[in-house]
């Protein structure tokens, strides 16, 4: 599904070069659930941007679903993001003052899905994340956990090849974080490929495979044999 080979990312600021990633290679097969871990500054955000087609690598190639996307222009990347990647952000990033239903319909509008089909699909995915009775609520009327569930529904509507979650529980209390992780587990069980960035070991334990980054390099890439079950997160987070 994903082939990352020898990717590096170098930021140039005036004459100072900052190496954010160097020589990263790994593959992700369909149906995997991967956590990318690392302390801040390890390059995990940069890697997430590249995997999410939000940024291009300086060197190396990135093949997503058989398509080399390291050389595409802005509009082509927008199209890839729309069709192949479902984003879930730490800050939920729903449109303010817009109903849950309309938020979920947004990627389909950009993807050119006919108007009649959008509502139907949006309702289906909102039901799936348990928000059938909250469709007409605006973002500010929903709790953090509910907002993140709307974001998950939004990520699913275009039936993407991978779901890319960036610290999905970072802004949530543990009970709500549990709910979100449970949805992820269920999605993965249904065959969705999930790549999740997190710095919390507790959350990473939900994944089947954990890649740890340090100073822009892969420190470890291991299978997670003893996956934690729901209800694992007990400690109350800030």
């Amino acid at each position: 599904m994903i082939q990352v080979s020898h990717i590096s990312k170098i930021y140039k600021n005036d004459s100072i070069e900052t190496v954010a990633l160097s020589d990263i290679s790994f593959n992700v097969a369909g149906g995997e659930f991967i956590a990318i871990m690392g302390p801040s500054g390890s390059g995990k955000s940069t890697l997430m941007h590249i995997i999410g087609a939000l940024d291009s690598p300086t060197h190396g190639s990135y093949i997503l679903d058989g398509e080399d996307i390291s050389k595409l222009n802005d509009d082509e990347l927008a199209d890839i993001r729309n069709r192949k990647i479902g984003f879930i952000f730490q800050a939920f990033n729903l449109l303010p003052r817009t109903t849950a239903l309309k938020n979920v319909m947004l990627p389909m509008a950009y993807g050119g899905i006919p108007k009649e089909k959008r509502k139907e699909a949006a309702e289906k995915y909102l039901e799936m994340v348990g928000l059938a009775d909250r469709m007409d609520y605006t973002s500010s009327q929903l709790s953090g956990g509910q907002q993140q569930r709307v974001a998950i529904a939004r990520a699913l509507t275009m039936e993407p090849k991978i779901i890319l979650a960036d610290e999905p529980t970072g802004n949530l209390a543990s009970a709500q974080a549990n709910e979100i992780m449970e949805i992820f587990r269920r999605l993965n069980k249904d065959g969705h490929t999930i790549v999740m960035i997190t710095h919390e070991p507790d959350i990473a334990e939900f994944a089947k495979r954990i890649i740890t980054l340090r100073d822009g390099r892969i420190e470890s890439d291991r299978k997670n044999g003893k996956r934690k079950s729901v209800g694992y997160i007990r400690k109350v987070k800030k």
Binding site: H49, R81, F89, N93, P96, Y110, G111, K115
Partner: protein, 408 residues
Amino acid sequence: MEPSELISESFSTLTLNKMRTGLATLGIIIGIGSVIALVSLGQGSQKAVQNQIQSLGSNLLTVVPGARTSGGGIREAAGSNTTLTYDDAKAILSSSQVTDVANVSAEISRREQVTAGRNNTNTQILGVTPSYAEVRKVSISSGSFITQRDLESMSKVAVLGPQVVTDLFGEGANPVGQTIRISGQSFRVVGVTVSKGGTGFQNQDDIIFIPLTTAQKILFGVNYISSISVEAKSEDVMTQAQDQVGYLLLVRHHFNDPTQADFSIFSQSDILSTASSVTGTFTALLSGIAAISLIVGGIGIMNIMLVTVTERTREIGLRKALGAKKKTITQQFLIESTILTGVGGILGMIIGIAASLIISKFISLPFTISASSIALAIGVSASIGIIFGWYPAQRAANLQPIEALRYE
């Protein structure tokens, strides 16, 4: 994303911050409103001048004497020549070569002191033939105009303009039957003309009409006349009529070379076009000033749109992350700015029309509003939206999604 969705989304975005949207639109409202009002008032005054000139007779030619050259070769002012006579006027009407002329009137004009009882005034005395009333569109409000009999018998009768009536007898008085004295001679008042509303350079109401013969023989002691008014059969044959009259007078005055002629012929359309070009220049000048306020309004729109782009950086980043292409983002912001200026344009147009309606009522101008100025206002306001919205829209479209998503 379909255009209709972009439009409805833009509307809901704009209604979120009503105060700001209102203030941004105000600049355009004032700009478009003042352009519409000033153009309309300019056209109104142009129309007023045209009406006034046309009230003198729209298919009118005026023959005036040329400049007299005295024995020493000194050329005097145009109109000073004394070669134009009443016979010339009669010849124009009777000649078989002049086919496009409907009527002719001969006039002699001077200013004289006029008294009635204790009141006196200095006004224009116009010796006329009876046809003057028809040629120059003079109407009588009481009594009658100079008649053919008055002309033949050199009667000492006078028809007064309303201004003269006010000056000599007081406002609203009916002087018919009373006596006035023009440079010592008694004249019986036989009629009063309807006001022509003369203003400015020539007050057509401050005038006294007497028979041409009386003026020539009794009052001024001359044989010549100071002008001939010729009414062409229609506006279409003005040029032909002018040529025919010119040719006849050249022959009568024994000139071969038209450049040597001792008379000139003016047509009303010459005067009309001169007056129109003057008021047209003023209209253009005023609209130019109004257009500046429109540009200022446009810059206001650009300012607001730039603030909006900055404020919505995160939202733009999200939209791009979810697959919005540059074109879609550009369109969204252009539609927003065009809605701002479009709505401003329509409101400005309504206010401009209302203002011009009120002002033209107030200063009694004819109210005119042309479809072209409305079309122009709407076109201009829409293009201001596109022109001044373009840069902010480009800024939004070129935002990098990562940078935009990180933006706090």
